[in-house]
Each structure stands twice: as C-alpha cells, then as structure tokens.
C-alpha cells in the first residue's frame, strides 16, 4: 500500500524533536528571528508549505482532566514538498544549513555539530508518519505552479498591452512573449 505521507506527487513530512531543558525560549527566539518574507525555506525549492511550532503540552479539552504531560516541550516541523523524503532532508540540511543547525541544536539527541548526514539521519529518525493527507494540486510541483502563475500574470499584462497594438504587430509581440512558452 502507498505511503500515508503521499498525496499525488506531494510528500507530507512530520518531525518531532524534544527540546533540551531550559532551551525553549532560545529556540523560540531563533524561530521568531527567521525572516518571514524571505524564509530560509525559499532556498529549499521543492517546499510547498512548511511550519515550525513549539508544542509545550497537548491542549487539555476544556472541562476535563485529561492532561497528558509531555515531560518537556517538543519542536514540531512539518512540510509538504515534491518528491522523496530522503533527498528532501538532504536539501534541507545543505541548502539552509546555518538555520537548520541553529534550530535543531536546541533539541535532545541532535548531533554535534548539527549538520550534514548526521543531522539528516537525526531528522529521519524523528519522523512520524501521517495518517491521511490532502493536497489540492496533486500532480503539480512547486516549479510548475510558479511557472504557471508567472505565465498567467504575463498573459494578463500582455492582453492589456495588446489592446493598443497595431494588428500587424500583435502576432509578433505575442510570439516574442510566449513563442517559447
């Protein structure tokens, strides 16, 4: 049976790592300090969506006593990306090596130094399989989506410009813009 982590060509990764005692606030500062508009994940081009969050404890259902102490906070990283997990983790550890080291160095069991194949193996070891996943663009990669969005923008722009063009030049201008689309 197909992996529960896969929907179309998209893989859903979930990594749980315990945070070292006393390091939760440092880690929170590290994550808060990541550029939100130029996220380091931009450098890992197969990533559709990803998030880091700190799970200090499982939310307790209101009105119940169903507390479930984790013994300490955990860092949860999830990502929806194209392709296989092995090469993705490699890219994550190489293409945003500084940030990956700064983040996971706050976690229990993280290799020292937190980099390369050792960090990749650590993340792999802490992966939890998803139960069920949904992806709206099942077969479209990040690159295909970005290319399609770019062409759509260019076509809108061209359609406006084409209104003022001489009929004789419209075809040439179109082929210049989209001939090798």
């Amino acid at each position: 049976m197909r992996s529960p982590n896969i929907a179309g060509r998209t893989y859903t990764l979930m990594v749980w790592t315990p945070i070292l005692p006393g390091r939760e606030e440092d880690l929170r500062s590290t994550l808060d300090g990541l550029d939100r508009t130029r996220s380091p994940l931009l450098r890992v081009p197969r990533t559709h969506m990803a998030r880091w969050l700190i799970v200090a404890g499982m939310p307790v259902p209101p009105g119940t006593k169903a507390q479930d102490p984790l013994g300490g906070p955990f860092l949860l990283f999830t990502s929806n990306f194209d392709g296989d997990v092995d090469s993705y983790l490699h890219e994550l550890c190489e293409l945003m090596a500084d940030e990956a080291a700064a983040i996971w160095s706050h976690c229990v069991g993280c290799p020292r130094p937190p980099e390369g194949a050792a960090l990749k193996a650590y993340l792999h070891r802490n992966q939890v399989d998803a139960g069920f996943t949904f992806a709206a663009y099942r077969d479209a990669s990040v690159q295909q989506i970005r290319t399609a969005l770019d062409k759509r923008e260019r076509l809108i722009d061209f359609a406006v410009r084409a209104q003022d063009m001489e009929p004789a030049t419209r075809r040439t201008a179109f082929l210049e813009e989209f001939g090798s689309a």
């Binding site: 799970v55 499982m58 259902p61 479930d68 229990v108 179109f174």
Partner: protein
C-alpha cells in the same frame, strides 16, 4: 466554493501572504485509537471522500495523524508513550480563520463528524460557534510558517495551471497562423481563456 481574499484573522505567525495555517491537537476518546486508523485507511482507499474538500477550493494542504507515542532520543527526554492518543491536524487555506470554519462545517458536515467525533468535547459541527470554540481551544500557533506561492489562492493556482496548458497550445499554433488571421485567433483564445484570468 471560493472565499474572498480577506485579511486573515489569525496571528501573523500563522499567515503567509493570503495563506493561513491552523494546527490542532485533540485528545481522543478511548475508541479513537481504533476508529481513526480505520478512517485514515478508508479515506485513502476511497479517494472520492476528498471530492467535497476539493470542491471547497480554498484548502491547499491538510493532514491528520494519530499521535500515540513520540520518537525517543534518550535522556533528558522522559516521555515516549502518551497517556492518550491525540489527533494532530494541520491545514493551509485561503481566507480568514472564521470563514474556514464556517464554510467547512456547512459543506463538510459529514466529514467533520467522521474526523472529529472521536475527539473529547467535540460539540458537533453545527451550529458553527461551539465548533469554533472547540477548534480555538485546541489550536497551537506556529512559530514560523512558509508558503512557496503566498499570494496565490487555490483558485488562482488551479486557474493558472489550466490556463498554461491552453496558452502553450495556442503559442505553438500561433507560429503557423498568418498575420492577417492572428487577430481572430487571438480573440477566440482570449474568450476561452478569460475564465482563468
């Protein structure tokens, strides 16, 4: 169903452009440990169960996982096996938090029962207000959220993908269209393409 692009009513760390994230953990009733794995298997086996979610056209990614134990890394980590199973849910969508809940409970009412009925204190999907409170009380904010195409809604991405196919075909065909006939072909192409613009 398309939601209007509105300023999301979620903490900034849960938002990337027009995309919002929700991350949720709900404690399971005793039978959830058997029921949820069955639900996951059934949903994977019958992809039609996703049709309603697909039609909503504002959810880009979602996943559900039953967490019973956590990876163990040795001391000082103390907990490995959890006292209760917990349902982990994450979703990325366009629009506001309230719109997401409201539209989901109205369109996915049956699915909501299927996926949430084994969670403790689940109030049922309708009316929406108790369900909103249920969601809110089980949510954990993200610290850093990333989206590769933050300004594109699900509808725009799907339109762009459909349009690209048509544009590439027309561009290929246009190379053989005489100059005098191009305007007519261009107008016909635009008429067909305008639903994707």
């Amino acid at each position: 169903m398309n939601l209007p692009a509105v300023a999301p009513d979620a903490p900034p760390s849960n938002v990337a452009g027009r995309t919002t994230s929700i991350t949720l953990f709900t404690t399971q009733k005793w039978w959830g440990r058997f029921f949820m794995p069955f639900m996951f298997t059934a949903s994977r086996a019958v992809p039609k169960t996703l049709d309603a979610m697909d039609r909503l056209s504002f959810i880009s990614f979602a996943s559900w996982t039953l967490i019973r134990e956590l990876p163990y890394n040795g001391p000082p980590q103390t907990v490995r096996r959890l006292r209760y199973p917990h349902l982990f849910f994450e979703v990325s969508f366009n629009g506001s938090w309230a719109q997401y809940i409201d539209s989901s409970v109205r369109v996915l009412t049956t699915g909501m029962f299927s996926f949430w009925s084994s969670s403790r204190t689940f109030p049922g999907p309708l009316p929406a207000s108790p369900f909103q409170r249920f969601f809110k009380s089980h949510e954990i904010d993200t610290s850093h959220y990333y989206c590769a195409y933050p300004d594109a809604t699900v509808t725009i991405v799907r339109s762009a993908l459909a349009l690209e196919e048509r544009l590439d075909m027309f561009a290929h065909r246009a190379q053989n269209i005489p100059e005098a006939a191009f305007d007519g072909a261009w107008d016909a192409f635009l008429e067909d393409a305008q639903r994707f613009l």
